[in-house]
């Protein structure tokens, strides 16, 4: 399957989600679409993404039609957001969300940055900022 085909609409009735809550999920029946159907059967993303990679839409216009899931992922990425959050909003496994995002990255519609591997979890400045942020939250 070419990249464009991966991004394009699947055959079948068109049905765009009207909002984030309107995914193809039935509370009783569970998923109405099997997760890897959304990724066109692909199980590996074309770009390496981590759970906490931050993604963000570039605003670049796309020449191909997007599937409802791609559109939703792009919509969520308007402000920087983690891969994990996109998976949760799409109500899809993270592995599937990574594939959809990698399609968008390949098209230049989204950029991604992995968590900074040089960030030292024991860095006192970082820990102090975490502490300050938590205190601020407590006061809210």
């Amino acid at each position: 399957m070419s990249r464009a085909e991966g991004l394009g609409r699947r055959a079948g009735p068109e049905r765009r989600p009207e909002g984030r809550d309107n995914s193809w999920l039935d509370a009783d029946a569970g998923r109405l679409v099997r997760p890897y159907t959304v990724s066109g059967g692909r199980t590996r993303p074309s770009v390496a993404l981590e759970l906490l990679s931050m993604v963000r839409a570039t605003g670049r216009a796309l020449k191909v039609d997007l599937t409802p899931e791609h559109t939703l992922a792009l919509d969520i990425s308007r402000s920087p957001v983690t891969v994990a959050e996109i998976g949760a909003h799409l109500k899809l496994p993270v592995a599937v969300a990574k594939i959809l995002l990698s399609d968008l990255i390949d098209q230049g519609a989204v950029t991604a940055r992995p968590p900074d591997p040089a960030a030292d979890p024991a860095d006192r400045d970082i820990l102090q900022r975490v502490l300050d942020g938590l205190h601020k939250r407590l006061r809210q």
Partner: protein, 201 residues
């Protein structure tokens, strides 16, 4: 996973730092039903989210045919929450199942984590043994937060410490995970502990 961090130098996926906040993470561990989802939800500034990580694992304890590696695909539910700390850092909380068969996932999650909260229910302290062992063996700093359920017999923090054979420096605190302020205080206690530990080191 085989594909971590191998595109860091790819200019096409890089942009300037200022538009991306830096994610930090704290893990929330503990046995089934101890209140991890509640804790993550009340501490989070967003509605608690959950997602699934689909993973392939070698199945243990089963016979397999000669030359055929037995693997099974499983999905693991993860709860996560978000706390925006300032304009540069966002703290993510991850809660995942505490059973030892899911530790392969904790390996990835614990990489780069600041520390961990182990939630404990005094009626089922044995449920957090696995988590204590895991974080001790990884050298990951953690504290134990006793989630006080209605009607549960209350033990003192020292009794919990003794029952879990915790090192003296590991904090044991009490919390009510249904209260956001209580969950946030647990995180404050953890980070305070991390700062003290860093000062000593």
């Amino acid at each position: 996973m085989a594909y971590t961090n191998d595109y860091g130098s790819d200019g096409a996926t890089q942009t300037t730092d200022d538009i991306y906040p830096q994610p930090l993470k704290i893990l929330v561990a503990g046995g089934f039903g101890v209140g991890k989802t509640t804790f993550v939800g009340t501490a989070s500034e967003i509605e608690p989210l959950s997602t699934e990580e689909t993973v392939t694992v070698a199945s243990a304890g089963t016979d397999h045919l000669d030359g055929v590696q037995n693997k099974t695909t499983t999905t693991v539910a993860m709860d996560f929450g978000r706390i925006t700390l300032d304009d540069q850092y966002i703290l993510y909380l991850f809660g995942t199942p505490g059973q030892d068969r899911f530790w392969f996932m904790w390996d990835e999650l614990s990489n780069g984590a600041l520390g961990a909260v182990i939630l404990a229910d005094t009626r089922r302290l044995v449920d957090c043994f696995d988590a204590v062992d895991f974080f001790e063996s990884r050298g990951m700093r953690f504290l134990v937060a006793v989630n006080e359920f209605d009607g549960s017999y209350s033990y003192t923090p020292d009794e919990v410490r003794g029952a879990l054979a915790l090192a003296p420096h590991v904090p044991v605190v009490l919390c009510d995970a249904r209260q956001g302020s209580s969950s946030t205080r647990v995180l404050i206690d953890l980070v305070t502990h991390l700062l003290q530990a860093t000062a000593v080191a």
